[in-house]
């Protein structure tokens, strides 16, 4: 396959978000996803120092209408625009599309805007289904929610690889420990293993602290060419590679916990970016539910298949460990911004702007979302 080389042709030059912790404590039924995305875009524009009118591509995630979104932020004349559904996999997909558009000259500067008013409007990730959809055949048994689907995979994983239920505590505890160093996080209090184990089950074997925090918030990311990035305010964070691969089934669950799809990505990702897993300084691992952290560690070769439940113990994924994971607290401590907040945290780390949770000498960062559309990026400074 003839492939256009995407390595380091694009860079993230602006990031912005709302304050996740403040918003968690302040519900507002009138709050729209558009206004949250607009707040974030304003912050990202200010952060980058770019002229708003230089934005010629707009990828809207979760906001119901791209036309409304464009109108709200006054971007009427674009060369690339669309919207992506409000599922977590789309954060990475949007970044991949931005890279594709910029490298092929379809657009020069793409803003990815994400707005989510899910907490205020009482969004639930379960219990809602259309009678004429395949989900009706699950609801017949009381089956619903992506959390239960991940619980199915985690149970199978435990069986195949001899993992104990409490091995997952390492991921939940690490997220909370990192959230405690993030003034923007919803939960800034560490938890102990005892607290993790004593928390109630939601879909057993998953417990409360394995679940992401539904919240309101906005996140925006501005991507442009490497050339233009050098003229802007912030140190550029280059996109070394960005790929997707799918494992789409009726059940969200896959037989191999997305391993095959992630391996497909890993081969291309590391080759294009010319990076090996051991050269990666930190990893932002999409965790709508904590088992996906372990799936990702294996899928991208940070450890052997079937061993993440052991490998991730004893501080290995802590800020001062071999591979710091989810440095801002991930989806169970910072906020469930469906991957977008993890991406901008990677940018902060690579700029050296992560404050108390800064990973020392961070040069190469990694993001992935293990989901029916898996995607991953290598970012570097």
């Amino acid at each position: 396959m003839a492939e256009i080389n995407i390595r380091d042709k694009t860079a993230i030059v602006g990031i912005g978000s709302t304050n996740f912790g403040a918003m968690y404590r302040d519900l507002d039924k009138e709050r729209t996803s558009y206004e949250l995305a607009a707040d974030a875009l304003k912050a990202a524009i200010d952060d980058s120092g770019i002229d708003k009118n230089d934005i010629d591509g707009l990828l809207c995630v979760r906001t119901p209408s791209y036309a409304r979104m464009a109108d709200v932020v006054g971007l009427h004349h674009l060369r690339l625009v669309n919207q992506l559904e409000g599922s977590g996999r789309m954060a990475g997909v949007a970044l991949q599309y931005a890279v594709m558009a910029i490298v092929t000259g379809q657009a020069e500067t793409v803003a990815i805007v994400y707005g989510n008013n899910g907490r205020s409007v009482g969004d639930r990730y379960g219990g809602v289904f259309s009678p004429d959809s395949p989900a009706a055949w699950d609801a017949m048994y009381g089956m619903t929610s992506p959390g239960a689907a991940v619980a199915h995979m985690w149970r199978r994983y435990m069986y195949l690889y001899g993992a104990s239920e409490d091995s997952l505590a390492a991921a939940a505890i690490n997220n909370r420990a990192n959230g405690a160093k993030n003034p923007n996080a919803v939960f800034q209090k560490p938890i102990t293993k005892e607290e993790y184990m004593q928390a109630r089950y939601i879909a057993e074997p998953l417990r409360l602290f394995d679940y992401c925090i539904i919240n309101d918030g906005g996140v925006a990311t501005i991507v442009t060419t490497a050339e233009k990035a050098k003229t802007l305010k912030q140190p550029p964070v280059y996109i070394g590679a960005s790929y997707s691969a799918t494992d789409l089934t009726n059940y969200y669950t896959t037989h191999d916990f997305f391993f095959g799809a992630m391996q497909d990505i890993a081969g291309r990702l590391y080759k294009t970016a010319d990076v090996t897993p051991s050269e990666i300084d930190f990893a932002q691992l999409y965790d709508n539910f904590t088992p996906t952290q372990f799936f990702a560690l294996e899928g991208y070769g940070f450890c052997e298949r079937g061993t993440a439940h052991k490998w991730a113990q004893d501080g290995r994924i802590a800020l001062d460990g071999d591979l710091p994971v989810n440095t801002s607290g991930g989806h169970t401590a910072e906020s469930y911004m469906q991957g977008h907040a993890l991406t901008i945290e990677a940018v902060r780390q690579l700029r050296g702007q992560a404050g108390e949770r800064q990973v020392k000498n961070a040069k190469v960062g990694f993001y992935t979302c293990p989901a029916p559309i898996c995607n991953a990026h290598i970012l570097h400074n």
């Binding site: 219990g127 009678p131 609801a139 009381g142 069986y159 089950y201 879909a203």
Partner: protein, 139 residues
């Protein structure tokens, strides 16, 4: 019809032209899967096309009703009012001997005794005059 429909309160997929033979099967104690007349592929839940060769030419065939537990979870959180009284309840993903995955529930065994790859077989619970719900028990 004599059946008191309100007696069964859990959600049921509405009967359609597409899925009616599945439900007719459940009333006869048969688990039926669409089976492609072109390539032999089988699938669930019902869909208009064979996902392997995209043929619309299929037959509804009774299958063994046997399989194994691929995985299972126990719901402690209430998502559906109709399942509230059953909390905590078991949801099992069964891999049928034919290789087809089927969401269901497991009965006749304590949750603590369930394990992945447990051999199971289908049984049916009357829901309405037209629909019985397949569930699985240890084989």
């Amino acid at each position: 019809m004599a059946t008191d429909v309100s007696a069964y309160t859990k959600p049921l997929p509405p009967i359609t032209k597409l899925n009616a033979p599945f439900w007719e099967g459940t009333k006869k104690g048969e688990l039926r899967l669409q089976t492609c007349n072109e390539c032999g592929h089988q699938w669930y839940p019902p869909s208009t096309h064979c996902p392997n060769c995209l043929s619309r030419d299929y037959a509804w065939k009774a299958v063994s009703g046997r399989g194994k537990v691929w995985s299972w979870v126990v719901f402690h959180q209430r998502y559906f009012k109709a399942f509230e009284d059953e909390l905590p309840y078991n949801v099992t993903l069964v891999e049928l001997d034919e290789g087809v995955m089927m969401m269901s529930t497991l009965r006749g065994i304590d949750d603590k005794d369930v394990h992945c790859d447990l051999q199971v077989k289908v049984e049916f619970e009357d829901a309405t005059d037209e629909q019985s719900v397949p569930y699985f028990v240890p084989a």
